[in-house]
Symmetry: D2
Subunit: 346 residues, 4 copies
Amino acid sequence: MIKVGIIGATGYAGNELVRILKGHKEAEIVHYGSRSYVGQRYADVFRNCTEIVPEECGDDNIEEIADKADVIFTATPQGYCAGIVTEEVLKKCRIIDLSADFRLKDVSVYEKWYKIEHKSPQFIKEAVYGLCEINREDIKKTRLLANPGCYTTCSILTVYPLAKAGLIDLSTLIIDAKSGTSGAGRSAKTDNLFCEVNENIKAYGVATHRHTPEIEEQLSYASGEQVMLNFTPHLVPMNRGILVTAYANVKKGVTEDMIRKAYADCYQNEKFVRVLNKGICPETRWVEGSNYTDVNFVLDERTGRVIMMGALDNIVKGAAGQAVQNMNLMFGLPEDMGLDLVPMFP
Amino acid sequence: MIKVGIIGATGYAGNELVRILKGHKEAEIVHYGSRSYVGQRYADVFRNCTEIVPEECGDDNIEEIADKADVIFTATPQGYCAGIVTEEVLKKCRIIDLSADFRLKDVSVYEKWYKIEHKSPQFIKEAVYGLCEINREDIKKTRLLANPGCYTTCSILTVYPLAKAGLIDLSTLIIDAKSGTSGAGRSAKTDNLFCEVNENIKAYGVATHRHTPEIEEQLSYASGEQVMLNFTPHLVPMNRGILVTAYANVKKGVTEDMIRKAYADCYQNEKFVRVLNKGICPETRWVEGSNYTDVNFVLDERTGRVIMMGALDNIVKGAAGQAVQNMNLMFGLPEDMGLDLVPMFP
Amino acid sequence: MIKVGIIGATGYAGNELVRILKGHKEAEIVHYGSRSYVGQRYADVFRNCTEIVPEECGDDNIEEIADKADVIFTATPQGYCAGIVTEEVLKKCRIIDLSADFRLKDVSVYEKWYKIEHKSPQFIKEAVYGLCEINREDIKKTRLLANPGCYTTCSILTVYPLAKAGLIDLSTLIIDAKSGTSGAGRSAKTDNLFCEVNENIKAYGVATHRHTPEIEEQLSYASGEQVMLNFTPHLVPMNRGILVTAYANVKKGVTEDMIRKAYADCYQNEKFVRVLNKGICPETRWVEGSNYTDVNFVLDERTGRVIMMGALDNIVKGAAGQAVQNMNLMFGLPEDMGLDLVPMFP
Amino acid sequence: MIKVGIIGATGYAGNELVRILKGHKEAEIVHYGSRSYVGQRYADVFRNCTEIVPEECGDDNIEEIADKADVIFTATPQGYCAGIVTEEVLKKCRIIDLSADFRLKDVSVYEKWYKIEHKSPQFIKEAVYGLCEINREDIKKTRLLANPGCYTTCSILTVYPLAKAGLIDLSTLIIDAKSGTSGAGRSAKTDNLFCEVNENIKAYGVATHRHTPEIEEQLSYASGEQVMLNFTPHLVPMNRGILVTAYANVKKGVTEDMIRKAYADCYQNEKFVRVLNKGICPETRWVEGSNYTDVNFVLDERTGRVIMMGALDNIVKGAAGQAVQNMNLMFGLPEDMGLDLVPMFP
């Protein structure tokens, strides 16, 4: 039985970790950390856990948690994990960080886009980027796992096969993404009030969103080229789900069959990425509550572009689900343990 | 392994049966019945099941299904189950009917409220009303199970303890209920279009809704009185969830403690009914996707009334979840097998 | 041209006052007051007003505003208006208070339900309760107008005809109300975040909501009896709209025709109250964006109860629209000036 | 007083024509046409019009309507208007067609994208494309007005200034659009049910949507080049609103000032197009219920692309509002008569 500590258990991703881990046969939560609710019963903060989680929220002394846990999930704001991780902690237990602190290999890129100083750059090199379908073998061996961002996971899984196979002109790549509102977190801001989000759609962070360099870095690895792209996120009046619509010029001579084969090569043995049949567009409703990412594409012969599409649940495959998938890999368990969730519809 | 046939697998309740049973260790679905989609792949109708359900939809020859299944769930319109059930079928396999056909013991009440002739009244007597928390022992022994309605389950579980304990004047009982839109089913009607339901709330079926006699009948059994009440359903712009707000005068001398004790007496050992702490109102968000019903009450000393409240997920505890709970009871399995679902939030 | 000052212009009701008054031929807004946004352009707070409102938000020095305005709307939290109103101000300009400060005639009731001390009880007596359809003649003459609450307007207009005509047993009256989320205001609270409200319905303020005594007082005037009732509000995932479902026993011998006549007697000449045809339930979607209240009823012969229903837009007839209707009356203008708004659907 | 006939009055755009025209001082509706509801009271179909529209729905004999109307709006499916327009009708009254029948100048393009035969190609040449901000002078003189599509209006107004000023490489233009669900119409389809649309976002009509050639044609006129682009619409769980996010490479040497000047040149005197301040992204909530289109852009120096954004209400500026704006132009009235609507929020 893996003993799990959660730091940041009272955010949306934290609560989803609880939901998933409660159904995981080999995991047991030993710490529900929360800066804001220390001493309150966890189930009084998230009443879905009434009569399921009797524990109180604890404060976040990472050394103490490391003594009792085999793995710590940090579902915390940027900068937090980098500020508390130490060699001593990592010797005692593994860390799966859901923030961006260890996702980017170039610390200057991190500091530029996130506008904060990185407090422990010495761990960046050993940290493994936890996109399971791509880095599986490295993940199995790491003690410090950088869990990818929600937009990033969706964007990369959607574009990766064509980037890797060299079928698209990456200098033309544009990613237009749409997200449900849970991605904005649970803190009280006027902009996220029901009446402000409902009956509205908007772009935000245009040309400046911090998931951009993360997508660029991973697609650069995949393609062997330096990738620079436009990424535009939009806020959609729904709780969960991310949809990515990506555009790129295909290289000369590229056919639909070649594209389909590239997707198959990458994903035919991947349980959590479903390549849809021709003509079927991914929709967030079909993945809600599950760890699946649905992907597909349309080749527009008229314009010479391929429109790539992907959908996932931002709190599951885009956060807590992928984090558990990473935990399974890191601890030698079946990768899908506790993640065998049929998407819930409607 | 219990072999399960589903008739009406392509409605919302049918799809939820699939979702739940796919996570049930002792059940295997052998028939996905659908009048409208015979010959189509189930996963092409409900794409959440892509790469999870490879089977096609079959037509609904109940004899053939009965040959291969241990239990048949009928998630079908009123009148359908009554029209196909026979002694031969019941000899071969058990039936859990999610429609109203076998819920009411008085066939004339059924025919009056549903305005259809009952095709097999001979089976009404043996059918057991499947509200697990109330009829557990009878459920274990039956071969024909009448699964309660969604509004009904929520209404009865909310009011039952006080009706049973004799603490309220049942002649003053009023039930005001609010439901998400999945309760209206998946057939294409203008009234259920997104733009008609969104940004709207309305009452419907005022004084005529067909769940009324079902609630009355069960509360009459509980109280030993003939109960007649007002039940008013409302349509709420959300996918899932039912909230019941019920009002009744308390009898003279009834105190808050007496009321709380009545709830505890009924539910303290019931896993799927959570009596909330004083001051906490049930909300549908905290039960979504799960088999829980949350209940609580406020005693208004000023007016001498108790306001009883209950919340459940209409497709889970109000339909498919309770149906599986009943199946577990009927087949001697742990009652919560496959139903250990933490509510999904948000 | 009536010069209008708005204190609290940057709440939802304040913005709705702006929207309505911008279309009012005889009104001109001379002050956009806002505690939080002083010095910012109004249109930068409410971008719907881009290129429509060039003014900045001003602070709320009521004497200065009174010098330039003929009427001041206070769309402010409870206690604010009572804290600033003075004889000097009232000599210079009229006040329409959208808060509860002057709605209740008994200051002790106010202080008990609102849990704040009333700062200017000397004005309570002269204040007129501005439910136009009921107090029209008094409204025309007042200088201090207490604009009714949103729930209250809907509840009273729904029940008033039967209370007045003596057709129901008021001791059995129960009001179950459902509101969109704009009623909760624009301040940043976790409970009002999109993900907390969306896909949820809950009751709140059960047996303690502060609109209760206001409804009771007005229905007492209408009936000549002391009315005590249960009022339960619910929060619905939609922006606008209130639906009231009210229950009462009818007195012996009361028929459907008598009830229909009572509604007609009160409302047949009222432009803003629409009594629907038999069998049609009020729905919030049909009044959205307008000053209408739709009402109707069902007489349940079986139980001897009448179910009364009403729907309005909480920010229009429930706040800003009724405030403008009151202004029209107070200044001798046609009552519907600026309010000739066809409900917007969908 | 202009006498107006509406064919297709019982769709969402038809109802919005009614809402707007009821507030128009110089227009009077003389015919409420509806294929599906002939003989029923209009207000029984759209209950927002209770006590506002007493008329019944009429059938659609265009000759008879032309005898009594000065202008006919056809808010009907593709092919309908082309099938009924005749020289006799056009001699008697003007036509504003909200369908696509007369939008495209090349009949073969129409027939290819719409997959129907054009029944009256002889009128295509004289028809004027009614995007008021661009074709104002021609609109004033026409008797047959092709009202632009909703996506098209938003897309063109967003991109037009840069296309006209020659600042972008039009071969790189990509338009990613998001629409509320009212654009899908009021017919009963499973795909448009509340539970299917709510909590979901999807792309549809990828590379094949029929508004594509309309956008291409108009941007070709603006730029003097043959434009071919990708247009991808998405369905968003909200009633109203379209947001367009468009991407193009800027030409060498193009600066932010040059782009801002191009927008100003086109729109500084346009009431209904609001160019937002730097850094402010258009959002659909700020235009809802109004005839405004909000536009803005971000120049991404990093990638050399400009991201252009536009938002409008698909039923107002995207349909009924623009149709009335066109009517005003055609009849020599102030262009904004009846359209002075402050956007309604929330």
